[in-house]
Symmetry: C2
Subunit: 100 residues, 2 copies
Amino acid sequence: MSKYAMFGKLTAHPGKREELAKMMLESGETLNDMEGCIYYILHAAEEDPDDLWITELWESQEAHAASLKNENVLALIGRCRHLIAGGSAVKIRPLGGKGF
Amino acid sequence: MSKYAMFGKLTAHPGKREELAKMMLESGETLNDMEGCIYYILHAAEEDPDDLWITELWESQEAHAASLKNENVLALIGRCRHLIAGGSAVKIRPLGGKGF
């Protein structure tokens, strides 16, 4: 089974990035509960005040797909939705490197 | 001192991504030698056949800047240059999450 990686960009409504990031980070239990999640790291874009970037590494694509059906994850998405203006994803296949 | 993170996109000349990735991964010693580098992971974009994405996490911005003056890193860049059509970077500030 191949590992699965993704970059996601979330754009907050103007001025709402900090609130969105705080809400997502406070849901640490939700993140830690996700089976098959190796890492899930939240970043703030330095050059765009409303953008957050998430990097994810999963044991498999199936583990990632299952997380999107997890009720805690769905509840978190629901709580954050009013702060989010849009999003996009870059699908990537991890190859190797330092710390992989 | 704050940690420093970056996403970099490298676009290979058409059909050259595999060769570029192999060259970069075979330079594992160069990567492992970089002081202050926590991780440096190479990924292939699934939806663009010529794009590679690099995610980097450093102990500090200074450590990252110093790596760009390291002679082994400069030599690696020189060896790869003919395979690279272009690149861009997204500057990001890591906030937290699982595995951070």
